[in-house]
Symmetry: C2
Subunit: 320 residues, 2 copies
Amino acid sequence: MDVVQEVLLAEERIRPHIRLTYLEPSPFFSAISGANVYLKCENLQHTGSFKARGALSKLLSLSEAERDRGVVTASTGNHGAAVAFALSRLKANGTVYVPHQSASSKVEAIRRLGARVKFFGQDSVEAEAHARQVATDRGLTYISPYNDPQIIGGQGTIGLELSEQLDPVDAVFVAVGGGGLIAGVAGYLKSLDPGVQIIGCSPENSKVMMQSVRAGKILDLPSQPTLSDGTAGGVEAGSITFELCRDLVDDFVAVSEEEIRQAFRQFLPAQHMLIEGSAAVPLAALLKLPEPYQGRNVVVVLCGANIDSGTLAAIVGSNS
Amino acid sequence: MDVVQEVLLAEERIRPHIRLTYLEPSPFFSAISGANVYLKCENLQHTGSFKARGALSKLLSLSEAERDRGVVTASTGNHGAAVAFALSRLKANGTVYVPHQSASSKVEAIRRLGARVKFFGQDSVEAEAHARQVATDRGLTYISPYNDPQIIGGQGTIGLELSEQLDPVDAVFVAVGGGGLIAGVAGYLKSLDPGVQIIGCSPENSKVMMQSVRAGKILDLPSQPTLSDGTAGGVEAGSITFELCRDLVDDFVAVSEEEIRQAFRQFLPAQHMLIEGSAAVPLAALLKLPEPYQGRNVVVVLCGANIDSGTLAAIVGSNS
C-alpha cells in the first residue's frame, strides 16, 4: 500500500471530526533523558485514543450504500470505542461485538458513544471470529483494528500533524501492537525525511510484531498479561502491517512491566495528564535507551488514556 | 474594577502564551444530570491549571523596569507553578517562597519551571507574610493569587473563550477559593448576557467566600482539610474579589468530601482525563442540584489537574 497517499486521503476525510492534539514539550523528561522530549497528546484525542482517527477514516471511505448496510467490529477496548464514536459522529449504523464476560464499564462506554453492543463468545478471539462471520453472511463491512489501508492512513495523520508541529523531528517512539499506528506515522514521516528514526516499543510480555520482524515472518506467539493492554495480543496472519513495520521501523525496544510502571509513575506528577499503560511503553523505552538521542528532538506518542481505576490505583499507589 | 476591560487587556497580553483549552461535550454527565454538560478543560492549560492565565496577565502588565527588579510570591500550589511558568516564559526574575515543610515534589516542580525557590516559615501564612515583607523592603512586586485586577482579568479570559465556544451559555459552575476565577469569568460573561447563571462551588470544609457573601462581609473563618486543596483557605481582608462575588455570583453550592470523591470517581473512567480535587467540586455541585438545568447548556470549569499520586490512589482505589 502507498502509506503517504492513504494518509493524505484520510486527512481530507477526517480533519473536521478529529482533534489536532497538542505537542507538549516536556522539561521533566528532557532533563532526565538528555533529549528534547515532546509528547504527542493522543491521550486527549476524542475517545481518549488515536484509534478515533483510523475508525473515522475507514467509515468515511465507505460508500453511502456500504455505510447504510452497516458495519461490524469486535473490541471492548479503544478500537471499539473509536468505532462507536465514529458511528455516532457520522450517524451511521453498526454493531460492536464483545465477549460475554466483558467489564460492564467498557460495554457501557461503547453504548454511550452510540453503538449497538452484542455479546458473543468467551473471549475476544471468539467475538472477532463471530463479527467477521456476521459481516460475511450479511454483506456488512468488518472493521479491522489495524489490518486495513484506511485505518493505517487514519493513524498516520498523526505523522502529518507532527511534521507541521516540530522541525526537525529526529526520532519518534511509538507503541506497537498490531502495527497500524507506527506504520502510518513512519510511512508518512519517512517520505518527508528518510533519516527520521522510528522506534517501535512493546512490552516484554507481548512483543509479537517485534519477534515477527526479527524472524522475517508473522509468528503465532502467546502473550503474557501486561499493563499495556492496548497493545497486547498477536498479529493477524497476512496483516499488511507486517511488511510496513519490517521496512519502516528502525529499531524495536522491549520494556519490562516494572519499566512501564516506573515511567507511568514519573509521568503523572510531572505532566498532570492521564495516560494508559500502552502510552507509558514508548516513554519507558526512551528512558531505557536515551544515549542516541542526546540533544535531539524526540517525539513520544502518548497513544491513549483509557485505564481502569483499579489499575491506576495499583500503579500510583504502589511504592516500589 | 472594570472586569470586562481587565479581561480584554489580559487577552491582548497573554493570548500568545496560553492555550485555548478544549470545551468538551460530556455525554456521560449530560445523561446523569439532564443538562447539556460541557467541560472547560483548564486541567489541560499550561502548568495544569487556569492560574497560568492570571500569572502571565500580571507579569505582562508590569513595566520592563518592574519586571527587571523582579517579583515575589508565596505558594507551593498552582499559583506558585503558574508564576514560575510565566517567569520562565518571559525570561524574567522572581522568587517563590514556600514553607519549610513543603513536599519536595512540589518544590521541584516550581524549580523545574524556572523559578528560584526560597524556604521561609512553618506554614503558608508565614511564607506569604515574608514574601510581602521582602517585596516591600526591596521594592519588588508581590503577586497575589487572586486579590489583583490583572490576575482576575487573566482568569476571566476563560469567559471570553467560552463566549466563542458555546452559544448560548446558560450556566457556569466554578470552584471558589479566593474568588479570582469566578469573578473574572462571571464579570465577562454577564456583560454579554446578564441572564447567564454563575454558580460558585466550594467544599463544605472550606467555603469562606460563600459564608462571607452571605454575611455581607469578609469573615475570618477556619477551614477543615479538603480534597479540594486548590480552593482551600481564607479570603484576604479587603480582597477586591469579595464585592465581585457578592454582585456577580447567582448562587453558591457547598459539597461534602464524599460528594467530591464520588464525582471524581465518576469522572475518571468517563472522561479519561486527570483532574484535581478542586475540579471535581463544581461537577459535584451540578450533580447535587441538577433540576434547574434540564436541557440547558451548562459549563463545568475543570480548573486544574495537579493531584498528588497518594491522593489519587486513595480516591480511585477506594470502594465507597
